[in-house]
Amino acid sequence: VNEPELPEATAPAPAPAAPPAARIGLAVAAAIGVLAIVETTAALVAPSRAPKDADWEAAAREIRAAFAPGDLIVAAPAWADPIMRLHLGDLVPLLVAARLDDARFGRVWEIGQRGAHAPEAARGTVALEKRFGALTLRRVERPPAIVLYDFLERWTEARVSRRSLGRPDVVCPWSGDRFQCPDVSFNFVHLQTVEVDTTVRRALLAQPVASSVVVIDYPAVPLGRELVVATGLHDVWQRKAGHGVVDMRVAIADAYASAIEATNDTGWQLTHIDTSASAGRVVDVRFEITSPEPFQRHFVLAAEARR
């Protein structure tokens, strides 16, 4: 389809403009010109500002030379974590990578870039700070939390049962690698690697059962000043499919000490229960898990009694 000829493009003729408007126009043109130069320069320069392999290797050497068991190594921003593990993954075993939190680590090695800091290194004093190219290595030191009882380490000592109104309690015996309750295939308690809020954790998977209470009872737990309980819902597909709330009550020596609610949005939720009044005592700790809508609720928990 032929089109009529379009107007001739000429070298733009000087356009009459009121002086203030012209000044504003020129200022805008100048600003965009500067922006274009800055954007071009940034695009050309930015790739060279990224940390290089040699930076990572040098930082890794520094850490290896002074690393002690019980140290934590983190990357900042967190998205650099895989590269950190590429260089130092042998010092970040599964239990450390999928940790409950960072409280038990007295020394934190933080490999940061672009001015970022890791939340794990927010507490304590900076004992070391060194630059390795585009990376900044910091060692932060603080008193570690002393864990008196790790509920994941001792999970096989727990007693698991299911309570339903008007029925006798059902004991869930050990079966292979888990506590398996009778009659309901998904009613089990199992220690495994889970994903909560798109982060990998180690936790006990304990799905709630309709009209029932799933009970995990730990006998003889030595208490310190606090009991830290982590809860959440595993994994992204189940969170997409299910919407129900999961409730967990924590009973210490048969007295309810806390009620925790887990939903799709609560993430990896840490609940700190003050046990200073019972510090030094050895008591039973019981977790009671229920849900009014248990469909696809892959509830998980981890806990530590800390001095």
Binding site: E8, V28, A29, A36, L44
Partner: protein, 605 residues
């Protein structure tokens, strides 16, 4: 009108040709570095299978039984592939291009990786070394067409240097550029959306284009379902343009007449769509309904935006406002900032324009010439009124963005789902640039004539420079790229913006995979088998490389595997740690320090 040896029209055609050629050259030069995603792998397969129907038709014609190809079984054997997901215009072009232009090694070891039986060596015009390039070529031509159309459309308002800059800015956007080189539909539908809009614009004063609008719309319907929305956006413009009828400011109040373009879109559009999709032929209503429902009820795949994983319609009222910002923030963080700034200036120019004024000194008149304006006519519904170019650009830019902003709409495609807005942003940028060119020229009255003539080209070049450099920087990881405002690859990752999807970014790791002793037990995570077949057909992946399958159990069966970094795949990383007994990767593919893929190897006992 003449200046020098070329008429304006001839020069415009020359510039369009140069722009198109430059687009094809640039995209062909780089597409080989771009891996195959889940969707593209399927479209390779479907395109080749659709070609199979044509091949069989030729055999049936030769055998004197052409009707066999039109029986339900004869049609569905080929056309049910990738149905009801997507119509077939682009895929048929990909299949035909592959058949015509690939360098045939089809009877070699990869013979059985084709989705249809290879009857013998294909006689082709072997333009391309790789099969995938031949598949992708039509998509690249779509991009070239878009660039030319953007130039042509811009020329209705601005001088050629600004129009050429607008066309270049339409291409030089990292996310668009990523999609422009692959055999999918998102870049082609951006072209078709622009073509429909352009045809409609011309139909406002040309009955011929009123009819053609329906044909163009039908092809758009056959390209991707985004086309359903186009008439809605155009209706918004039309009602605004003819608001004088509704308000009675033109003499008397009346309902705006149904313009020819819309009538054509309603009548001709679906007809063309139906004719172009043989899968529909045997049950048009039922299958069309299936197709529509497929997309109205589309699953919300996982997608990261501002640090959250979104994978369902948002029902939480606290999250709705955040979710609704997605397309706007993604635009803000992905389109080169200079382009956005120029588009903003263009928007101001259009907003300040008085009704009836031309957009600029070189623009077409918006008020028809002559003392007596033409009578309103449904065949030329824009002949008697200002065509409201500002409103036209506004609906074309904000229409697609607003659809994706709705909390119930999936956002898993990121920018690609509202990419039809992007060329119009480039048009707005061209308008802004043109105005600034005139401001600068006015501010430099003492400029010598030769310098004055060079000034627009110099400014256009400066305007395009950051976008071109940024786009070049982004390749082949355009999906992971974010602009200066976001802070590039690293800034995007820190903001919690989506890094990638569907396994495109694996290509640079293939040489490493080929060297692995345990490659027979390879876990490919999000790389679909169709993509693996194509890598093998092209010799980029050894025929002895295995695939343990999909999902966490497949990690258990594997000895070496990869993991794409997307927020929702975190549990798979945990599975690797469990199954392989280590958290230490053996390789991390990264861009500017941002991990895209990690490779793990099972720890030796």
């Amino acid at each position: 009108m003449r200046r020098g040896p070329l008429t304006t029209l001839a020069r415009d055609r020359l510039v369009m040709g140069v722009l198109a050629l430059a687009t094809v050259t640039w995209l062909l030069a780089v597409e080989g570095g771009q891996g195959f995603g889940r969707d593209e792998g399927q479209y390779f397969r479907a395109g080749e299978r659709y070609w199979g129907w044509f091949e069989e038709l030729a055999h049936n014609i030769a055998a004197g039984r052409p009707g066999q190809s039109f029986t339900p079984a004869g049609l569905d054997r080929y056309w049910s592939d990738n149905a009801p997901d997507h119509p077939v215009v682009a895929k048929v072009l990909y299949g035909l291009s592959w058949r015509a232009f690939h360098r045939c090694t089809c009877t070699g070891p990869a013979r059985f990786l084709h989705p249809i039986p290879v009857r013998g060596r294909h006689i082709t015009l072997p333009l391309f070394k790789r099969d995938s390039t031949a598949f992708r070529f039509p998509a690249i031509l779509f991009a070239a067409l878009l660039v030319s159309l953007v130039y042509r459309f811009c020329r209705r308002f601005v001088a050629w240097p600004a129009a050429a800059a607008g066309a270049a800015l339409a291409l030089a956007q990292p996310h668009y550029f990523f999609h422009a080189q692959i055999a999918c539909f998102d870049a082609p539908i951006a072209t078709m959306a622009f073509a429909v809009g352009y045809a409609y614009w011309k139909s406002l004063r040309s009955p011929r284009w009123g009819v053609l609008s329906g044909v163009v719309f039908g092809i758009a319907l056959g390209t991707k379902h985004n086309a359903w929305l186009m008439p809605i956006f155009l209706l918004g413009h039309y009602l605004w343009m003819r608001r004088g009828d509704v308000l009675g400011t033109n003499g008397r109040r009346r309902v705006p007449r149904l313009p020819l373009a819309f009538a054509s879109m309603v009548v001709i559009g679906p007809l063309v769509f139906f004719l172009l999709w043989p899968w529909l032929w045997q049950a048009p209503i039922l299958r069309a309904k299936t197709y529509v429902n497929r997309h109205l009820q589309h699953e919300h795949y996982n997608f990261e935006y501002l640090g959250r994983n979104w994978n369902a319609p948002v029902t939480d009222s606290r999250l709705k406002p955040l979710r609704m910002t997605a397309p706007f923030v993604e635009t803000l963080f992905t389109v080169p900032v200079t382009t956005l700034a120029l588009a903003l200036v263009g928007g101001v120019v259009l907003a300040r324009r008085r009704r009836g004024e031309p957009v600029g000194p070189e623009a077409e008149p918006e008020v028809p010439a002559g003392a007596q304006p033409p009578r309103p006519d449904w065949r030329r519904p824009g002949a008697d009124v200002d065509r409201a170019p500002g409103a036209f650009l506004a609906v074309q830019i904000f229409g697609p963005l607003c659809v994706i902003a709705m909390p119930a709409t999936p956002i898993f495609g990121g920018v690609k789902h509202f990419m039809p807005a992007m060329p119009y942003i480039a048009v707005a940028a061209a308008l802004g640039l043109d105005r600034l060119m005139r401001v600068v020229r006015a501010g430099l009255p003492a400029l010598r004539e030769r310098a004055a003539r060079a000034l627009p080209v110099a400014l256009a070049t400066l305007a395009c420079l950051p976008s071109v450099v940024e786009t070049r920087r982004s390749h082949p990881d355009g999906l992971s790229h974010y602009n200066l405002l976001a802070g590039g690859f690293a800034g995007g990752a820190s903001l919690g913006m989506n890094r990638q999807f569907w396994g495109y970014s694996v290509l640079p790791m293939l040489p490493w995979v080929n060297q692995q002793p345990d490659k027979r037990a390879m876990y490919w995570h999000d790389v679909i088998s169709d993509a693996l077949f194509m890598y093998k057909r092209e010799g980029r992946l050894g025929m002895d490389v295995g695939d343990t399958g999909y999902g966490p159990p497949a990690i258990g069966r594997s000895s070496v595997g990869i993991l794409f970094y997307e927020k929702h795949w975190a549990s798979y990383e945990g599975t690797f740690w469990d199954e392989y007994g280590t958290t230490r990767p053996v390789l991390v593919r990264e861009r500017e320090g941002v991990p895209l893929i990690t490779a793990y190897q099972r720890a030796k006992p």
